[in-house]
């Protein structure tokens, strides 16, 4: 299968967006959804074909001397301003792009299929706006695919904005709900703010290195990640500094801020929990599996540059490690299951970020020891597995919400009896995220922990602790939904497993979550295209499994059956519990900053100045003109004879003056 089919993979969702968006309204709702699913199925098959050809095929330049190469399938110039300022729109297939193609199309296909059931009522009738929903899903899929195959950083930026836009549209899908509108505005504004930094970073980077293209920034002559290329790009930038740091450090930090906005790193994470106002399948696709990892992808794409610019990498490390802990701490107390999952997502993405950051061990640059670049591989591995099991968890949550019509877990409880399939799938997801072998999460998380321990014992212990918290909060949610106490039927019909359109994706994703850990990532996805030799580090693996089991055990003791223990513990640490439940007051903090400081302190005086002084002056001029003209309009009597009379007197006066002048 030719790799150039990647173009089709990217273009097909765009065509579907146009088709469904323009023609969909004329067709029935269901048929639109079915067309969307079928198109996505074709797209997925193609994407798998491309990925398999890339990884296991040969003869298309993907493998040279045992080094995996990026294959540029197409790279036409899109905007050509000057010789150096050329913006290209291309399609590039390299390990992470091929991996992302698989992730995106898989999850997207599952979500397309699932939405057939989810976006319908219990009688199977599709909701209002069904066509719009599918069109936006296709738009999102296109944007995300375009992002991962980008050949240059500007293309990434464009698609960054487009995924932000489709995210905005889908969060606000129920646009009649005020909460959805607030949430999509919040998401858009926060990510826009971050994207501003991203754009700044791009401008600085391209100004000093004279290029947008990755092949001049990070790809070596063999079109795989190369420190030499990155070094020469940095050398091109020269020793320019700003505020004591090199411009490259600034540029890369700004680019990371852009990625942090999309990937919901602290303190730009506030939009993600609110984004759960959107339909649950959307949360699964955009806010769990694909869009939120765009930031990780971005850093991974520029990985060689980050390796050489330690300052930026350290920021990523600190932010990532903190966010992982912070979000996990919040996830432990949330009562809204989607929000708990959202914080879990933030925590897991922070894992990936940290993993990327730890792999740039300064020592690794000097002595190339075994395991160099491990963090990069682990991060991508975790991205892959996380996308699968987090999509699974979200889709399960969607099935539950669809059944009980509530997001709050005190409306659930004891659903295991009613929804056994969902329960088992959710359990598989929980086991995967908790890191229990042989489920997917174990393998990827283990690699991350190994990388963290290689960086330093402190980082390793910290990340292990967060992994334990992960196990705890996931099983807390699981028990609170499916056990705890007998379910009280609130609605007139008892909750039950959902129709096959919704259950099938769950089962497929559960199967993937079980086996995804066995994908040989270490010789497929590495930063420099070379095979990485790893071995299961039994010490790390053993401790991490032990910690995960501890977390699960604690959750089992506390939440398996209804008991007063959680309440007692919450009371014992009331302050901490409340702070965590209120998400450590970050929203209140932003509210304070924006409302009290920016609005009241800056905007209100400016608005006052604008209205009173600027507008006031203009209004005064208008009023003055008005009143003067009202005063003198009597002169416009409409009597031509009066005009002539006045004119004549004026002429006579002039003549008299002239005469007097001549006389004198």
């Amino acid at each position: 299968m030719p790799l150039s089919l990647a173009i089709v993979v990217v273009a097909l969702p765009l065509l579907m967006f146009l088709f469904l968006g323009l023609v969909g309204v004329k067709m029935g709702r269901k048929i639109t959804g079915v067309i969307g699913v079928l198109a996505m199925l074709v797209d997925t098959v193609l994407a798998y074909g491309v990925a398999l050809t890339y990884f296991f095929g040969s003869g298309q330049g993907q493998m040279v001397d045992g080094v995996r190469q990026a294959v540029v399938v197409a790279n036409p110039a899109w905007l050509s301003f000057t010789d150096t300022l050329v913006v290209r729109m291309g399609v590039l297939v390299d390990p992470i792009a091929a991996m992302m193609l698989v992730v995106i199309t898989t999850v997207s296909l599952m979500v397309h299929l699932y939405s057939l059931g989810y976006m319908s009522d219990h009688d199977g009738n599709a909701e209002k706006g069904f066509q719009r929903y599918y069109a936006f899903l296709a738009l999102f899929t296109f944007s995300m695919l375009g992002l991962v195959v980008a050949t240059n950083i500007f293309q990434i930026f464009i698609f960054f904005e487009m995924v932000g836009l489709s995210s905005y549209l889908l969060i606000g899908f129920y646009y009649s709900l005020p909460a959805a509108n607030h949430a999509n505005k919040k998401a858009f504004i926060v990510t826009r703010l971050a994207d501003l930094f991203f754009l700044l970073g791009i401008m600085i980077l391209s100004y000093y290195t004279n290029t947008f293209d990755f092949d001049k920034l990070v790809f070596g002559p063999t079109m795989s990640g190369s420190l030499e290329t990155a070094q020469s790009a940095i050398t091109t930038a020269g020793g320019a500094t700003f505020l004591g740091c090199s411009v490259m450090a600034w540029a890369l930090t700004f680019i990371f801020i852009g990625g942090a906005g999309k990937s919901a790193m602290y303190p730009l994470h506030i939009w993600l929990p609110d984004a759960m106002e959107g339909p649950t399948p959307v949360s699964a696709l955009i806010h769990a599996a694909t869009m939120v990892v765009a930031g990780v992808f971005l850093v991974a794409r520029l990985f060689p540059l980050y390796v050489l610019v330690q300052g930026a990498m350290n920021i990523i490390l600190v932010v990532g490690a903190f966010t992982a802990f912070y979000a996990a701490a919040i996830a432990c107390t949330q009562s809204d299951i989607k929000r708990a999952l959202a914080f879990s997502t933030i925590s897991q993405i922070a894992f990936m970020m940290t993993s990327l950051a730890v792999s740039s061990n300064q020592n690794a640059l000097i002595e190339i020891h075994e395991g160099y670049g491990l963090g990069y591989m682990a991060s991508m591995f975790h991205l892959f597995t996380h996308a699968m099991f987090k999509a699974l968890l979200f889709l399960c949550a969607g099935a539950i919400i669809h059944a009980v019509h509530s997001n709050e877990n005190d409306k659930m409880h004891g659903l295991h009896k009613y929804m056994p399939i969902t329960s088992i799938c959710f359990l598989i997801g929980c086991l995967a995220i908790a890191g229990i072998p042989p489920f997917a999460g174990f393998w990827s998380k283990d690699e991350i922990l190994v990388a963290a321990y290689q960086r330093g014992l402190g980082w390793g212990i910290w990340m292990s602790m967060v992994a334990g918290m992960t196990a705890f909060y996931m099983f807390r949610i699981y028990y609170l939904i499916f056990f705890w106490k007998k379910h009280e039927v609130h609605t007139h019909h008892a909750p039950k497993d959902q129709p096959w359109t919704m259950t099938l994706p769950l089962i497929i994703l559960a199967c993937i979550s079980v086996v995804a850990g066995f994908v040989p990532f270490h010789d497929m996805v590495t930063w420099d295209g070379k095979e990485l030799h790893t071995a299961l580090d039994m010490k790390v693996a053993g401790t991490s499994v032990l910690i995960a089991l501890l977390g699960i055990g604690l959750a089992t003791v506390m939440y398996r059956k209804e008991n007063p223990l959680p309440e007692r513990m919450a009371n014992a640490m009331r302050g901490l519990w409340t702070a965590s439940y209120r998400r450590f007051y970050m929203d209140e903090f932003y509210q304070f900053i924006t409302h009290k400081v920016i609005f009241q302190g800056i905007c209100v005086p400016i608005a006052w100045f604008d209205r009173t002084i600027i507008d006031g002056f203009m209004n005064w001029m208008a009023d003055a003109t008005n009143s003067v003209s009202f005063g003198i309009r009597r002169l416009q009597s409409g009597s031509i004879q009066a005009y002539v009379y006045v004119y004549l007197l004026g002429a006579l006066l002039l003549a008299a003056i002239t005469m007097i002048c001549v006389l004198l």
Partner: protein, 103 residues
């Protein structure tokens, strides 16, 4: 007795004065047009006599009068067309009654 330039200017001046008086006092729009013609005519006379007395070798004044007559004809035709049209609408040619366009 000599016929000086002055002697031709006096009737012209009086004719002009009459035109002014008529223009300001008359109410009928056609009468106002007639007054206008008086004024134009007095100007024509001035052109001609100035030309004849002061620059006898040239013909500019005469040509100015010629063109003024042509323009006066055009202007009168148009003005009368307007007046008749106004009369059709307002049933009146009294200039004091037709004040719709003011303000």
């Amino acid at each position: 007795m000599d016929l000086t330039l002055f002697m031709y200017l006096i009737p012209s001046l009086i004719m002009f004065g009459c035109g002014v008086y008529g223009f300001i006092t008359r109410k009928n729009m056609i009468a106002i047009m007639i007054s206008l013609e008086l004024m134009l005519n007095s100007v024509d006379i001035n052109f001609v006599v100035f030309n004849r007395y002061l620059f006898p070798g040239q013909m500019d004044g005469m040509f100015f009068s010629l063109f003024a007559i042509a323009i006066a004809a055009a202007e009168t035709a148009l003005a009368l067309a307007i007046i008749i049209n106004v009369f059709r609408i307002a049933k009146n040619v009294d200039i004091n009654q037709i004040t719709k366009l003011k303000f």
